[in-house]
């Protein structure tokens, strides 16, 4: 029941929020997001005690044998926690901003939360598909309506990309559905099915393209920098912090266990694409002068590493990817909080026009430095443990891939430190001299993120233990042997 509650709270409160006017919308949605957080934490506790109690099954479409089947495994719990932590942080950060038609804005935000939780909990392929699309629609409207001046065409490109990808996945789902003996969409039926190697080989691409577009992996990434740049920052936080995890999640939950041989056949191709993306995105990030685009490209590089590590086919990298999914989410939301603050104060995105902010807004500067270092994966920050495990796993698979991917760490240091130098150090100009420091709400959100960064940097054990069960599930499939 807790799992259903996790979906229902944002869904119902989201619909209610549409009817609210003025500041009551943001108060209400903040309360709703805290309620979700409480439930998520309870679910987390429940998961370690009695994981099977989180499963919920209800007949949905009897004609198809589709069930409303939701539940949580280690990775699902972790991502639900990430979602539940992120939304209050986002709402607190933008608490003082005024949005046009706040009822619709916050309502759509909560609906996207419901869609995301649905994706992370669905154990029925058709349900998974429905939530997969459902998470997209609110984000489409959010970006188009409250985004920058080019937002409408840019968001539409994003929409068509993901829509086309997910339709291909739908064909794959239908195909596998008819292979199952009792015509069922359940995860158990899908994973226990023996699909011939030849079929797996092309089915792999139907699924992989859908997930690769969402992550995004090179060469399916072209929607991403524009969308991140043009979206309103709270939506970018949802997109980059949580939504891109949908792609990685899909690979681990559905692709690997259902099509292990397909994954085995194409693992090299997937890793080559991912590693190419890492280097490509890192190089572009170095050249960027736009703050938002820099973070967008850095995100492509990080996601590329995670995607490569998934296909490296060993236990270490699998653990690393899952831990990193959480940490990347936290870190990138932290970065966007800083971007949001700077945009709010200075109304510029070009880093060449910034500089010297450290003198006038020391707290902001400290936050940005800490988060940037976590993003480069310095030891004692949360980014370190995940990246270490991933590189170590990748190295075991093939040292050359690991070596090429490791260049990305150096490149990451180049563009992140370069960014720090341009934004907060150096001479202040007349504009940046007016920068006001973090306000209470922003300080609260940033403080929470920094606390998580250091806590998980020093003591990642809870996270590693949480995802252990999912690694074991993937391990149990033929894929790793």
């Amino acid at each position: 029941m807790l799992t259903v509650l996790l979906i229902l709270i944002p869904l119902i409160t989201g619909l209610v929020t549409f009817g609210l006017k003025g500041p009551s919308a943001k108060v209400f949605s903040l309360l709703s997001s805290f309620a979700s957080l409480v439930v998520a934490v309870i679910a987390w506790q429940q998961f370690s005690a009695a994981p099977e109690s989180l499963q919920f099954t209800q007949s949905w479409i009897p004609q198809l044998g589709s069930q409303f089947n939701v539940g949580l495994d280690g990775m699902g719990t972790m991502l639900c926690l990430l979602t539940a932590i992120s939304f209050p942080l986002i709402f607190i950060t933008v608490y003082n901003r005024e949005y046009d038609r706040p009822g619709a804005f916050y309502g759509l935000m909560l609906l996207s939360q419901a869609g995301l939780i649905g994706v992370f909990t669905a154990y029925d392929a058709l349900l998974f598909y429905v939530f997969w699309e459902l998470a997209l629609i609110p984000v489409y409207f959010l970006c188009s309506m409250w985004g920058g001046e080019r937002a409408v065409p840019v968001t539409f490109k994003f929409f068509v990309y993901t829509f086309a990808g997910s339709l291909l996945m739908l064909v794959g789902i239908i195909y596998i559905y008819f292979q199952t003996p009792d015509h069922s969409f359940s995860w158990t039926a899908f994973t226990s099915l023996q699909i011939s190697t030849q079929e797996q080989s092309w089915l792999f691409w139907l699924f992989f393209v859908a997930f690769a577009i969402k992550m995004p992996v090179f060469p399916f990434h072209t929607w991403q920098p524009d969308t991140y740049e043009q979206s309103p920052t709270p939506v970018t936080m949802v997109l980059s912090g949580i939504m891109v995890k949908m792609g990685l999640f899909g690979v681990i939950r559905w692709l690997l266990p259902v099509l292990p041989q397909g994954a085995y056949m194409w693992q090299e191709a997937a890793i080559v694409l991912s590693v190419t993306g890492i280097i490509y995105a890192s190089c572009i990030a170095i050249m960027q002068s736009d703050f938002k685009r820099l973070i967008a490209y850095s995100s492509i590089a990080h996601i590329g590493l995670m995607s490569a590590a998934i296909f490296a086919n060993n236990e270490q990298s699998m653990q690393g990817v899952q831990v990193q999914m959480f940490n990347h989410g936290i870190n990138i939301i932290g970065l966007w909080i800083v971007v949001e603050v700077i945009q709010d104060r200075l109304r510029i995105k070009d880093m060449r026009e910034m500089g010297g902010i450290a003198t006038y807004a020391p707290k902001l500067a400290i936050v940005l430095v800490v988060i940037s270092l976590a993003n480069i994966a310095l030891p004692l920050t949360n980014g370190f443990i995940g990246e270490f495990l991933m590189f170590s796993g990748l190295f075991q698979y093939n040292p050359w891939f690991a070596a090429v991917a490791c260049v990305a760490i150096i490149l990451a240091a180049v563009y992140m430190l370069n960014m720090l130098q341009k934004v907060i150090f150096g001479e202040a100009n007349t504009l940046t001299a007016t920068t006001a420091d973090l306000k209470t709400g922003e300080l609260l959100a940033a403080g929470a993120i920094i606390a998580v960064i250091f806590f998980l940097g020093v003591y990642p054990k809870p996270l590693l233990e949480l995802v252990q069960s999912t690694t074991a599930i993937v391990n149990a499939t033929a894929w790793m042997k």
Binding site: I61, Q63, V152, F156, L167, L170, V171, I174
Partner: protein, 458 residues
């Protein structure tokens, strides 16, 4: 049978209503009452027939499928009367006649779902077509309406000839008009039978505006009075599919016979999907875009002909509802606007938020987004073909075309929500109209969550 009789009878009644009822606005209510009575009569048919029963000396066969489709057709017509009925007056003076013609079409539709004899098929197609020729030209002073009527009539009667030729050849090959007794065998076909199958197939493809027989569609749909286009492009089209499917599944699906025509229909499907979707992208007028969209949607419905299984039957019923309700809703809103181009929708979300919201739901349904009826409609038809086993290439082409279709449907959404402007309505939007729109949108969403609500009647 009762449904057939009551619709035909109400056609005649409404012609006389025109003589006696002076206030034209009231005629609509007679029509609505007629549709409700037909609906009840149809429900009664279902009770009587039980599983399936043959009537009229083997000419007509009432089954749960035909009863369900009739219910869908009458239900959608009812919705159509309620949403668009008041727009009839603007077309011309003979309001009662227009309603009467629509009831006659409905009678033809009842036949198209239950014929078991080729003569009945021919009759049903003609009963559906002839009133449409008149409706297309109802706006007598408008040159485009005249052109539409003439074009439709010429092309339509030409195809009727082809259909008759096909039926004659089939009779020659099998010696019977009864679709269940044709017995074309399971092996090789005689040239006579094969040309019969192909000629009837082409004629029916024309009626459902499948490419390359679609050229009449944009001109006729665009030229006809908008309120009648809404009817022609939805319920009538679905009925054409029902006839098509019924004939091909019952008579031509056994053994190796299917192999003779399946590839041709598959190619027609592919061409329809491509031409419909890619041409719709370039349209400037929403009305014309909807005409091409109806071709594109026909491409999806053709999937049902390629797959002979339960899923296809379920799919075509869902598709008929999802597509008809959504398209009628969109046309009803279009009728209220001054400007039929995409720009005409600019800023509708601000001036008429409810119209914009319901229109968005209809458009999302046409694009096949989950949690709308359109998703499950597409889902069932796609999976029917996948279940059939071969032609996966067609399925993949289909989903890629569905992604393309998002482009032109979302153009309307973008205009309504993201473009500045003041979309002007030419007519007063009443509370009752809004209420009906909300009901239609609710149907779309409820069927998008629980498609089983309708399918349980099959």
């Amino acid at each position: 049978m009762n449904a057939l009789i009551s619709t035909a009878l109400f056609g005649i009644v409404l012609m006389f209503v025109g003589l006696f009822v002076k206030n034209k606005q009231h005629i609509k209510y007679y029509a609505i009452a007629g549709a409700i009575i037909a609906f009840i009569a149809n429900w009664y048919d279902g009770q009587l027939a039980g599983g399936s029963s043959v009537m009229l000396y083997g000419m007509v066969e009432v089954s749960s499928f035909s009863v369900l489709f009739n219910a869908v057709a009458i239900g959608c017509t009812l919705l159509y009367f309620m949403l668009c009925g008041s727009a009839f007056e603007k077309v011309g003076n003979d309001v009662a006649d227009y309603f009467a013609l629509i009831f006659f079409i409905l009678a033809g539709i009842m036949l198209s779902a239950s014929f078991s004899n080729l003569l009945m098929l021919f009759l049903s197609i003609e009963i559906i077509s002839i009133p449409q020729y008149i409706l297309a030209g109802a706006d007598k002073k408008n040159l485009k309406s005249n052109e539409a009527s003439l074009k439709y009539f010429l092309m339509g009667s030409f195809t009727t000839g082809i259909l008759l030729m096909g039926i004659a050849l089939l009779y020659g090959a099998s010696g019977t008009f009864n679709i269940r007794e044709m017995g074309l065998g399971t092996g090789d076909l005689s040239p006579l039978a094969l040309s019969g199958i192909l000629l009837t197939g082409f004629a029916l493809a024309f009626k459902v505006s499948a490419a390359p027989f679609h050229f009449w569609t944009p001109d006729v749909y665009d030229g006809s009075p908008t309120v009648f286009t809404a009817f022609m492009a939805t319920i009538v089209k679905a009925a054409g599919f029902i006839a098509f499917i019924r004939l091909f599944h019952v008579s031509f699906s056994e053994g190796a016979i299917a192999g003779h025509w399946q590839l041709i229909i598959a190619l027609i499907t592919a061409a329809t999907l491509l031409i419909g979707n890619f041409t719709a992208v370039f349209q400037q007028s929403v009305k014309r875009m909807l005409a091409y969209s109806s071709i594109a949607q026909a491409g999806f419905m053709l999937f049902a002909i390629l797959a002979f299984n339960e899923t296809a039957a379920q799919g075509i019923i869902l598709y008929a509802i999802a597509y008809s309700v959504a398209t009628i809703g969109i046309f009803a809103i279009l009728l209220k606007l001054k400007d039929y181009t995409f720009e005409g929708y600019n800023g509708l979300a601000r001036s008429q938020p409810l119209l914009a919201l319901t229109n968005t739901i209809f458009l999302l349904s046409l694009a096949g987004i989950p949690l709308t009826a359109g998703f499950f409609a597409k889902y069932f038809l796609l999976s029917a073909v996948v279940q059939q086993g071969h032609m996966l290439w067609l399925v993949i082409l289909g989903v890629l075309c569905a992604a393309v279709s998002a482009y032109y449907y979302f153009r309307v959404i973008m205009a309504m929500y993201f473009k500045p402007g003041e979309a002007e309505t030419s007519v007063q939007v009443t509370g009752g109209f809004k209420g009906m729109l909300v009901i239609a949108a609710a149907i779309v969403i409820i069927l998008g969550i629980f498609p089983g609500l309708v399918l349980q009647f099959l």
